[in-house]
Amino acid sequence: MFIINCPYCGERDQSEFSCGGEAHIVRPKQPTELSDDEWAEYLFMRKNIKGVQFERWNHAHGCRKWFNMVRDTSNDKIHAVYKMGEKPPVI
């Protein structure tokens, strides 16, 4: 449990947010061309990193906006929060 600094609302309790998992997974541009392996990679395979991870979060019980977060999954420390479409910071 931790405090998240929503880029739209400011600091709020983590229980207001929902996590959308790994960030920057690009949706396939040509879904009809994809092989089963590529679909599996896109849909299911995750890095599931222990350490610094880039992820998507949604302020579900607040502004309901999506944003990105850089968080260390080994200690839940948040390194950066940035809006969708912004360039990920270098950590």
Binding site: M1, C19, F44, S74
Partner: protein, 417 residues
């Protein structure tokens, strides 16, 4: 067995004030090379080593454990054992495990305190009722004992449950698997460790895996904090850290690791002689032999390796517990902890080969791995020894995420994942 435990050994050792019991397993340094190396010294890993040695005659094997054996999720679960799963593949897998549990104390000559006290799953709304009734029918077709209880029968079976119709989520009935129950989790790890050690398996604790060496598509060995170990077969049973090991081999797995919490109360006299689980309000409770209530909470909804978990998850569970069991309102909670569970998108495990030769994964057990320990070890040992899955774990391959043939227990199982 060299040092068979029996009433006679107990009496004999009583004369020496129990000072001369032999160590149950050794503390060897790793050899240069093994026929197979198991990564992870939890229940599943030790069981895998045990069955590899016992059934497949592979004696030159090692179990590597980062911390101490049974110190991960084996020591952090709520010890519930059941096999009332909906789908045929899951029913086959978990009932195979349950049948092994039934004879495990004798098999290991180690009291794992297996107690078939029954597991009851409650229904709180019409959909629950339909789902659970459907599941009892499916269970019976698979030869698994399951009965439906109406509200009155639930109350008779476990009198302390509040079955009043005016609570927020009233109890509309439940299912009961009488063969289900609990076991002493530490004893399972210790029993398998002792059995495996006696057959010549090296159990190496405080030995962390740092890398996996491969020559193209064949594993060659494993880099550890105690040096390099040569081997052609690596079985990874690292639970929440499976992805960490997979990343070392350049593999990605369909897993997300999350903290799952449990807590125990102060010990009290026997009050609940079964296991009661509730999917809708997410609370499950049983009572340990020491008298503590053992309460299972949910997972945090984000990836984390912290082995802690959030307070609001515990709070939500205790709210549900209090509504179902008002008698517990003045109980004090003694301890709370978290374990890291690796969850698959379909909430079913993976016991599988990979596209790297000699690298096998047993993971994705999510929130319910303990109950499968003996079956998981047995089938994983078969898979490693024969380089092909047993028919009971064939459906639980890694390729199902490519073929789409998922074993979708998410929501179908008796408890929310």
């Amino acid at each position: 067995m060299k040092n068979k435990y029996s009433i006679f050994s107990l009496i004999k050792n009583a004369f020496s004030q129990h000072q001369n019991w032999k160590q149950a397993w050794g503390n060897p340094e790793p050899k240069k090379e093994y026929d197979a190396v198991i990564v992870g010294g939890g229940g599943h890993g030790l069981a895998t080593a045990y069955y590899l040695a016992k059934k497949h005659n592979m004696k030159n094997i090692a179990v590597l454990e980062k911390g101490w054996i049974g110190g991960g999720n084996t020591g952090r679960n709520t010890t519930i054992i059941r096999s009332n799963y909906l789908w045929d593949a899951s029913a086959g897998l978990y009932d195979h495990a349950l049948k092994l549990w039934e004879n495990l104390s004798q098999e290991l000559n180690y009291n794992i305190m297996f107690s078939q006290r029954g597991v009851m799953n409650l229904a709180h709304n019409l959909q629950d009722v339909r789902d659970l009734k459907r599941r009892t029918h499916a269970n019976r077709l698979n030869g698994i004992d399951a009965i439906w209880l109406d509200t009155k029968e639930v109350k008779e079976f476990c009198p302390i449950i509040n079955t009043s119709p005016d609570i927020r989520y009233p109890v509309l009935g439940g299912t009961l698997q009488r063969r289900a129950g609990t076991a002493r989790h530490d004893a399972v790890a210790w029993g398998y460790a002792r059995g495996a050690d006696e057959m010549g398996v090296d159990i190496i604790q405080n030995c962390e895996v740092k890398g996996i060496k491969r020559n193209r598509d064949q594993v060659e060995g494993i880099e550890t904090t105690k040096g390099f170990i040569k081997t052609k077969k690596i079985g990874v049973v690292a639970a929440g850290h499976s992805s960490v090991i997979a990343n070392m081999a350049g593999l990605k797995l369909p897993l997300e690791s999350k903290p799952l919490q449990a807590l125990v109360s102060e010990p009290v006299k026997p009050i609940i002689d079964t296991v009661v689980m509730s999917n809708a309000v997410h609370a499950y409770v049983s009572q340990s032999d020491k008298g503590e209530l053992v309460i299972g909470a949910g997972t945090d909804a984000y990836i984390s390796y912290t082995q802690r978990g959030s307070h609001d998850v515990v709070e939500g569970t205790l709210k549900a517990i209090l509504e179902l069991y008002p008698i517990f309102s003045r109980m004090k909670m003694l301890r709370q902890w978290g374990g890291i569970v690796d969850i698959c998108p379909d909430a079913s495990p993976i016991i599988s080969k990979t596209n790297i030769k000699g690298l096998y994964f047993n993971c994705g057990w999510g929130t319910g791995g303990f109950k499968a320990t003996p079956g998981s070890g047995d089938l994983f040992a078969y898979t490693i020894a024969n380089d092909e899955p047993h028919k009971l774990n064939a459906a639980f391959n890694l390729n199902r995420f490519v073929s789409g043939d998922l074993v979708d227990e998410h929501g179908a199982a008796a408890v929310a994942h």
